[in-house]
């Protein structure tokens, strides 16, 4: 057991901390959540600054511990989120880096790192959410192009994306995991229609994407034809690896703010509320330690990152919902006012036990792949 860092890691932390302290005060205020072009410009602008300072590829170029330090420090300092760059930096980028050809890497990676292009994710479909392999969007060959027909749903940042990492069925006759291919599709290609989806939080965070005879060059396929499922699993292991690190740190900050607010408005005198806040503090502290455990494991080998990530995701997504329910206890009647802090977060937190694999799916993964229980039904 050891929580110390190497001198190189400590040096990285110190340099990053100094750079953040210098840069953050010069940033313009963030745009409103519904200003999509504004959000695109803001998020890409932040990525550009990270790139120019030498931190552009930290999500895939660095060791797990350095990545952890990066996420910890940027969150503590209140730096902008990865935002619209998420899919490019954490999904498509690492996948292309691992599975793409030299030509594909050359074409797509530099614009992601420089903050020039936004990617979105075309995985989920109305009939294929957590059961991803049930996807029905079809692509058939026509010369050196695929012709794509179908629809995608829950596509974050679709409105401002340049590219979409798209899963399509290229062999309808094959077993369902076998006939899938991974394509990079331009979002301004003829036949792509985007319709924003309004969530229960009132925001238009996601969109539906309809695909009618969209032509995608065969050269834009990453990995072999019909081998897209394996390529996708590579992507998902990136997603679950360190995706929640920044958020766990953020929850500590929210907890401190909630305690201060309770002190201010008199709710702190309620022992039941103090106990709830203390219990959440214990829980988020433990989740941070679990993150360190997972990173230590990734660094020293042993354990599939995606599977270990399921344990953290399960615990974290439920803890986050309890955190914002407790925020409502602190706020009292103000918890019903959409203009108060934490109220929208409470609504958004409802998606955490659904998105990126429901809690039920995660439990199946834990039961079957870690505990070795027989395949469920």
């Amino acid at each position: 057991m050891d929580l110390t860092h190497t001198p190189e890691e400590e040096d990285f932390r110190a340099r990053l901390r100094a750079w953040l302290a210098e840069v953050l005060p010069t940033l313009p205020p963030p745009p409103s959540p519904d200003d999509w072009p504004g959000r695109r410009a803001y998020d890409l602008g932040w990525q550009r600054r990270l790139h120019d300072a030498g931190y552009g590829d930290v999500h895939w170029g660095a060791s797990p511990t350095v990545r952890l330090i990066f996420l910890e420090e940027t969150e503590r300092a209140g730096a902008p989120y990865v935002g619209a760059s998420f899919v490019g930096l954490l999904h498509a980028g690492p996948t292309i880096a691992a599975e793409g050809t030299d030509e594909q890497r050359e074409r797509w990676l530099p614009p992601i790192l420089r903050g020039d292009e936004v990617w979105c994710q075309g995985f989920s479909e109305p009939g294929a959410g957590s059961d991803l392999a049930a996807l029905r969007t079809r692509a058939h060959r026509d010369g050196d192009h695929y012709v794509v027909n179908g629809s995608k749903i829950w596509t974050s940042h679709a409105e401002v994306a340049d590219w979409c990492e798209l899963l399509v069925r290229t062999d309808p006759g094959a077993p369902r995991h076998r006939g899938i291919s991974w394509l990079a599709m331009r979002m301004d290609a003829p036949g792509v229609t985007i319709r924003p989806l309004r969530t229960l939080a009132g925001s238009t965070e996601f969109a539906e994407v309809f695909l009618d005879d969209v032509r995608v060059p065969v050269a834009h396929r990453v990995g072999a034809e019909n081998d897209g499922w394996r390529v996708t699993m590579v992507t998902l292991s990136f997603e679950r690896g360190t995706a929640f690190v920044g958020e766990v740190v953020a929850c500590h900050r929210v907890l401190r703010e909630l305690a201060a607010e309770a002190r201010r408005n008199g709710r702190w005198d309620d022992p039941a509320l103090r106990r709830a806040l203390g219990g959440l503090h214990a829980e988020f502290r433990a989740l941070w330690r679990l993150t360190q455990w997972n990173v230590g494991e990734a660094e020293h080998g042993g354990g599939v990152p995606g599977v270990t990530g399921s344990v953290l995701k399960l615990a974290y997504s439920h803890a986050r919902q309890r955190l914002y329910d407790t925020a409502a206890d602190v706020l009292g009647a103000q918890a019903l006012d959409l203009d108060r802090p934490w109220v929208l977060d409470r609504l958004s937190s409802l998606s955490y036990t659904i998105a990126a694999g429901t809690s039920q799916i995660q439990r199946n993964i834990v039961a079957e792949r870690i505990l070795g229980l027989p395949k469920g039904r």
């Binding site: 050891d2 929580l3 219990g279 344990v311 039904r377």
Partner: protein
């Protein structure tokens, strides 16, 4: 950075696991339940010879000279095996009470308003005025209740959390073992999602508690220790309940060991003082701006 056990810590843990498997297996456990209130003095001395009590005592004082990161996995093993006796109290008395380090002297102490094993012990420490004997819920832990509760040393809190963690790991394993083999409706019950999800939640609780306990062993920070305590108490008690549920009717019988894990988890939950005190400490730390 690595919260997993290093090679030396693994070797130590394996040694204790081996000793307990040999000296305190299922037969010995059953015997102990049938003869409540008696401590196996010979086993106690063997534990002493293996360094169980002198582990953190400096070598200059005849101890092993190791620290909390070594004591924690050792106490996890005691928790897994349901080893009875005032283990934490005697461990804390090593170097201060003659014979405690070697396992020749059994030391009981007032911890969290409870006094365990007072009558079997050679030495009783702390303010035990007004101690009232209880008919203990745990057949393996004779108990006295005390009128007041002095604050508990963070080391005692952490070692208790380590025992809780060992118990949580053990009941998770028992449940999974049963779910893999027990057949109902023509298939192992572990193939049913309802049972899978009980087991998955047990593992999530265990792993979260494990990370918290190991980190607290490294930092020794009281906020870390009390956080670890809350997670480990929860994991031990709830895993025992879920393990019982997975075993169905068999789990509700005296013969099957899960009730002993649940009852011991309840005893250990009181040993560190009221849960509310840990929660208050963690809440207060939020106002101080600590992270």
């Amino acid at each position: 950075m690595r919260l997993q056990l290093d090679k030396g810590q693994q070797a130590l843990r394996d040694g204790v696991r081996e000793l307990l498997a040999r000296r305190f297996g299922p037969e010995a456990l059953r015997d102990a339940v049938e003869r409540p209130g008696r401590l196996d003095r010979e086993l106690w001395r063997e534990l002493g010879a293996a360094g169980f009590f002198a582990l953190r005592l400096p070598e200059s004082e005849g101890g092993v000279g190791l620290g909390l990161p070594e004591a924690v996995p050792v106490f996890e093993e005691a928790g897994r095996a349901l080893l009875p006796g005032p283990l934490v109290a005697t461990h804390l008395a090593a170097g201060r009470v003659p014979g405690a380090a070697e396992g020749d002297t059994v030391v009981a102490a007032a911890l969290g308003g409870l006094l365990e094993w007072a009558e079997a012990a050679d030495v009783v420490q702390g303010d035990t005025a007004g101690a009232v004997p209880l008919r203990s819920v745990d057949p393996l832990t004779p108990l006295h209740r005390l009128p007041g509760a002095a604050p508990v040393d963070p080391v005692a809190v952490l070692l208790t959390a380590a025992e809780q963690l060992g118990g949580a790991e053990r009941t998770c394993e028992l449940a999974v073992q049963h779910a893999r083999t027990r057949e109902q409706f023509g298939r192992p019950v572990g193939a049913f999602q309802a049972v899978q999800h009980l087991c998955a939640d047990m593992l999530v609780r265990t792993r979260t508690a494990r990370a918290a306990v190991h980190a607290a062993a490294v930092t020794g920070d009281p906020v870390d220790v009390h956080a670890a305590r809350l997670l480990a108490d929860e994991a031990a008690a709830r895993n025992a309940r879920d393990c019982l549920q997975v075993h169905g009717g068999m789990g509700f019988t005296w013969e099957f060991e899960v009730h002993l894990h649940l009852k011991r988890a309840w005893v250990r939950t009181r040993r560190a003082g009221p849960t509310t005190e840990s929660e208050e400490l963690l809440a207060a730390a939020l106002l101080k701006g600590e992270t």
